[in-house]
Subunit: 274 residues, 2 copies
């Protein structure tokens, strides 16, 4: 998928909501326990209930890997289901991979070619040759970790490197990588005060923003500096949407939670004249 | 597995060789193409031929993921095969995972509990709460990336943070994490000049050293500063061993390549009086 298609979808739906499919077998509604593939059945119900107001789905690969081959199959079926039924929706493998060149190439093939995701999250620690094999895939987006939403982000990402914080150096350096036009960045909602610095370095890049909802980030604060003329934001909610209820009405409640977020987003987009 | 068991095995085998199972379906000997599970058959033959002189096996998870569910099954069978037949050998999932707390916990479960690996490689970019869920597993080792062997390592790892290179900060900071005694570190053989600095910060930690062989690192130079009284080194070779031949005699040739590396290691250990 090309970025302009994502932007078009955002404008049509008046939403830049990404729903994180962190599907935990321990948190599934009880009545799904007997299903042949409870993870997929849960995802399918969530997707059907939220797709009207959602422009991206982001399965968190760890939750599928923890279930072994079955989990991997559920992941494959989930992406397939989205592509078959809602082909306009952007898909993100939240995998945070990062390894040397020939290995990065294998990961890129796994997520882009074999599973068919539109994008994958990648960790920057190993530098250029760990990122460029992902960027080499045309019409696929590589979402590099810059400033994450967790407390541990303070350990290294905020440290200074020649007067520049590591996350700023990651933004700057990665812009020199080959096919950098295929880059997006993860910037957490829990640190909205840094969005201004981020936008100084990457004024137009799309940012995937986790941390709204369960982690406490504010949508309005993120948009204050994060929003661009071309929107430039995908705001993720995972637990706040998919676990809105643990009862039989879980999908309906997830739909309501997503709709509520979209209403906030619509107001922000309208106010910005987008 | 506990570290003293690994050390004991190294002393018995006079080897600190780790063989990387970067099993690429495109590089398998042709006659395996018809096998039911060619990846596993290849690994099994390599393991049987090299186990005498090998103290650790390190499947590179990307190569298995690129084959989807089948690859995941081949990975599971490979670890199982090692544990069933050579239970003294240390197993490393080279996965380079790194994500926020609840997700890191899922990855730890996938590799330690579900697949049964003794250790997993982890990326430090997201800090404390992305690492501690791995460290919480008793008798399991978490191998944190410090200074990697690839050219891209220069992008961020060698950058200074308040006069300290990022890889030094990673070593220092991670030593304050809960259960830090379960930490090992990746330090690449392609930068032997840094081993002295590494040993100043972590004088006793085990280091997993990639980059000898195909990537050009020197075993003697690594050992000069890396070796401790308790050995403290696992030196990995992947392609140089497993692709020593692409003919029907690939396993025999892999055994010879591993044996040649072990001879160098034996000489080093003897000289050091270990």
């Amino acid at each position: 998928m090309e970025i302009h298609q994502l932007v078009q979808q955002i404008k049509i739906k008046k939403s830049f909501l990404c729903v994180g499919l962190d599907t935990d077998t321990k948190l599934l509604p009880k009545y799904l326990a007997g299903a042949d593939d409870p993870i997929f059945e849960f995802n399918k119900a969530i997707i059907d209930a939220t797709h009207f107001v959602t422009v991206a789905y982001k399965p968190n690969v760890a939750f599928y890997e923890a279930q072994g081959e079955k989990g991997w199959l559920a992941l494959r079926k989930t992406v397939r289901y989205i592509k078959d039924n809602y082909p306009e929706i952007f898909t993100i493998a939240d995998a945070k991979r990062g390894d040397i060149g020939n290995t990065a190439d294998m990961y890129a093939r796994a997520f882009f070619d074999d599973l068919g995701f539109d994008s994958v999250t990648v960790a920057p620690y190993m530098g250029r040759d760990s990122v460029e094999p992902f960027l080499a895939h045309p019409n696929k987006q590589t979402i590099l970790l810059a400033l994450t939403s967790n407390p541990g982000a303070a350990d290294f990402q905020l440290g200074t490197t020649d007067q520049t914080a590591l996350f700023e150096k990651v933004l700057e350096t990665s812009q020199t990588y080959q096919n950098a036009h295929n880059l997006m960045y993860v910037v957490g909602a829990t640190r909205p005060e840094y969005f201004q610095q981020v936008r100084k370095i990457v004024p137009n890049s799309f940012l995937l923003v986790p941390g709204v909802g369960a982690q406490g980030g504010s949508l309005a604060e993120v948009c204050k500096y994060g929003l661009t003329d071309n929107i430039g934001l995908l705001v993720n909610a995972s637990r706040a949407v998919i676990y809105a209820s643990s009862e039989a009405n879980f999908a309906e409640k997830a739909g309501e939670a997503a709709f509520k977020l979209q209403e906030e987003m619509r107001a922000i987009l309208n106010k910005a004249g987008i």
